[in-house]
């Protein structure tokens, strides 16, 4: 079950299960009892990262439908839309971070666990293309269980196409920074998430390919508590840095200031 923040004053910590009042969550949405960072919605994430009022969403290029008539999928899509107010598991748009222009792509795990489908792929490709045309750095905040099974191979080929788009960005070159948040798994992890120029992991995030449940179904192993944690990925050399949520905006600002990409006008 997802735990989309309800509109009421009290919500449950998805890690320790305690009831937490809206005011206790604070700006960064950290559980006051167990210190776990709660999963953010795309909107919360954008608000935390960008300069005030700087976010301009891209026009929505596609909406999802149950093209293959997969059992139960249409209902799941409708429920996800109702729960999140989003039309899909990703939001993309222009913004500035500490005055640096960026194309910000934010996935939302509250929409069908942020799974990658045809629409999500199309939106990411469109965002990457526009960033390339304006030579504006891309920031991808990933949160996904992987490819969306209900769309079969159509969901999977998005991985090839997004990586093809990223190859064109690399040829310009335009920097791509990824921020892996909880959870980043499967087809998202095994495609664009790890193919960025700088790969940051948010503290507390679980990041991997196959999830612990799938691994334990295959082999009876005791997995350590820090298995697939951002900290263990850093130790294994899989990510450039582990950043705590309150420091993320400044960290991205420093990276952008180091690249110094101002963007170019597409007119003339």
């Amino acid at each position: 079950m997802s735990h989309y923040p309800a509109t009421g004053q009290w919500t449950t910590c998805r890690v320790c299960g305690r009831h937490v009042h809206a005011r206790q969550w604070g700006t960064w949405r950290q559980c006051p009892y167990c210190q776990a960072w709660q999963r953010l919605t795309a909107k919360q994430r954008i608000d935390q990262l960008v300069d005030a009022d700087s976010f301009e969403p891209l026009p929505v290029v596609a909406r999802s439908q149950n093209q293959l008539a997969f059992p139960g999928y249409a209902t799941k899509l409708a429920q996800a839309t109702e729960k999140t107010g989003l039309t899909e598991a990703v939001v993309a748009g222009w913004a500035t971070i500490q005055t640096w222009p960026v194309m910000l792509i934010v996935m939302d795990s509250h929409f069908m666990m942020g799974t990658l489908n045809t629409t999500v792929s199309r939106r990411i490709m469109a965002a990457l293309k526009q960033a390339r045309q304006r030579q504006v750095p891309v920031i991808m905040v990933t949160a996904s269980g992987g490819a969306r099974m209900q769309e079969g191979i159509y969901a999977l080929v998005g991985m090839n196409l997004i990586l093809a788009e990223m190859a064109r960005l690399a040829a310009v070159p335009v920097p791509v920074i990824s921020v892996l948040t909880d959870p980043t798994m499967g087809g998202v992890s095994a495609s664009f998430a790890f193919k960025a120029d700088v790969v940051l992991a948010e503290a507390g995030a679980k990041i991997g390919f196959a999830g612990p449940r799938v691994i334990q179904q295959t082999m009876p192993v005791d997995l350590p508590a820090d298995f697939q944690s951002a900290a263990s990925l850093y130790e294994n050399g899989a990510v450039d840095a582990v950043i705590a949520r309150p420091e993320l905006r400044d960290q991205l600002g420093d990276i952008l200031a180091s690249y110094r990409f101002q963007g170019v006008s597409t007119h003339g």
Partner: protein, 257 residues
């Protein structure tokens, strides 16, 4: 088990090493990723066909007996396997040899070790490298190929499937699992387009070959070369563009709504 799956996973199923032996009378095997180790599930190398065409091959098979299956991890490639494939791709670009991948593999390897070795990064690197390959590549599905691992090899200019083979986002078992037992594994095969016929009809697959063909290995070898020859003079940029256009055209079948 479902009869179709049983056949694909059978010990006597036509395997990549058998095809490679027939295809390349002269064959130089390449082993190991030079960092972590070797992956027995991968048969990689280069050689010459009977007609002197230079070729690189990347074959993945499940193994033909219990011992082999253990060594080959049932065909679930591990990080050294992907990294070896990447090394072999660098070699093939250097000597301008086209690449033929031959697959019969389950989904990704679900193990703590593969996670610690950076399985995601390895798969992402392979998908990207195959997409940007400056020589022609062809993939042949001899059995199953699921999930990101198979997708990397399938980022190819041409796709061949044996008529009873499967290519999907996840195994039929995994598809059945998300439906919480409302559908059997057999039914799950037909819920999503994963059979050769379904994917041919949708334009993702170029050629489907009857797995009961009297001389299957010879038929397959001929078909691989027939598809490859027209690709040999194609310029690198066009090969790269062609792969993307193929998958883009496939995606376009899904209406924008």
């Amino acid at each position: 088990m479902d009869e179709r799956l049983k056949r694909l996973r059978a010990a006597d199923r036509l395997s990549a090493p058998t095809v490679i032996q027939a295809l390349l009378p002269t064959f130089v095997p390449l082993h190991g990723d030079r960092v972590l180790g070797d992956d027995a599930a991968l048969t990689a190398g280069f050689g010459r066909t009977a007609d002197q065409q230079a070729l690189t091959v990347l074959g993945i098979d499940r193994g033909q007996n219990v011992n082999e299956r253990r060594q080959k991890n049932g065909g679930a490639l591990t990080v050294p396997g992907y990294r070896t494939a990447l090394r072999v791709l660098a070699h093939t670009e250097k000597f301008r040899m086209p690449v033929v991948s031959l697959l019969n593999m389950p989904g990704a390897d679900a193990s703590p070790q593969s996670e610690e070795h950076g399985q995601s990064q390895a798969i992402a690197d392979l998908i990207a490298a195959m997409g940007q390959l400056t020589v022609p590549n062809i993939v042949v599905f001899l059995g199953e190929g699921h999930s990101g691992g198979a997708l990397g090899f399938a980022n190819a200019n041409r796709v061949i499937m044996l008529d009873d083979s499967l290519f999907n986002v996840a195994s039929p078992e995994a598809v059945a699992a998300i439906l919480h037992g409302q559908q059997t594994v057999s039914a799950a095969i037909d819920l999503l387009p994963m059979t050769a016929a379904a994917l041919k009809q949708r334009g993702l697959v170029d050629v489907v070959i009857d797995h009961r063909a009297p001389d299957l290995v010879a038929t397959l070898s001929t078909q691989i070369i027939d598809l490859l020859v027209p690709l040999l003079p194609v310029m690198p940029d066009a090969l790269i563009a062609q792969r993307e256009e193929k998958f883009q055209a496939f995606l376009e079948q899904w209406p924008l709504n």
